[in-house]
Amino acid sequence: MRRRAGEGFLIGVDIEIDILEVSPTRVKIGIVAPDALQIVRKEVVLTRQENLTASRTAPPQTIAWLSRTLSKPRQGASAKLTAVKDLTDPIRFVSESTKTNL
């Protein structure tokens, strides 16, 4: 299907999609749909799915391994392999006083 600005189409009987504006890089779309239908940008849906996966618990050994592997190349020769221990080091909160190159 090809549409121009000002044209539209229907999905079923109660969802109407109108092409409002077309520019070289963006398209403005008008949507008329029942209130019960949620309309969300695709990126938001993909981010939601990824967040749900990312929220799963990571085992301590995975956390230790990640930390070890990530800090290795950037700390050069001084990189030390810390043993897998409990997470008992002092905890620092990230706040305004954090002036690092995070």
Partner: protein
């Protein structure tokens, strides 16, 4: 209470408000961000609403040394930021990317939707970067770094 660190004492200045939560967790509106020398450079994004919710993040530049996300006007407004003068990473804002650990594949980071924190007003948002070319599942480690986790 926290997921990985037990009982936590925190001051109000350590709390970041996420007025809209983050996608999938719309009611999680307050987080603290924790670091430990032992787990450097990981940053733990602990929810204050739900103790069992804690994301693992790394600074964007650790995930990708050339990382340069462009925030949408909506996200800048949510953070109370303007581009003039441009906010400085490290003193004005922090940009973190969430890590996904999967058993099948190696760890990945979400470069397409970074967590951006305004350090001045302690507001945060998960920025959705439209058509940025950044991946939701960027492999975190180079292939040569992948060693069995024993």
């Amino acid at each position: 209470m926290s997921k990985y660190f037990g009982e936590l004492d925190y001051s109000t200045e350590a709390v970041f408000q996420f007025p809209e939560g983050i996608p999938g967790f719309d009611d999680q509106t307050a987080f603290v961000f924790l670091e430990q020398s032992q787990t450097h450079p990981l940053v733990f994004m602990q929810s204050l609403v739900h103790p069992g919710l804690c994301f693992i993040a790394v600074p964007g530049l650790v995930a990708d040394p050339t990382y340069h996300p462009d925030l949408s006007p909506e996200d800048l407004a949510l953070l109370g930021l303007s581009l003039d003068p441009a906010p400085q990473t490290g003193s004005d804002i922090l940009c973190l990317t969430l890590v996904t650990v999967s058993e099948q594949a190696g760890p990945t980071v979400n470069l397409a939707s970074p967590i951006v924190l305004n350090l001045r007003n302690r507001k945060g948002v998960q920025a959705i970067l439209p058509s940025s070319g950044y991946s939701l599942r960027q492999p975190l480690l180079a292939q040569g770094d992948l060693v069995p986790c024993s």
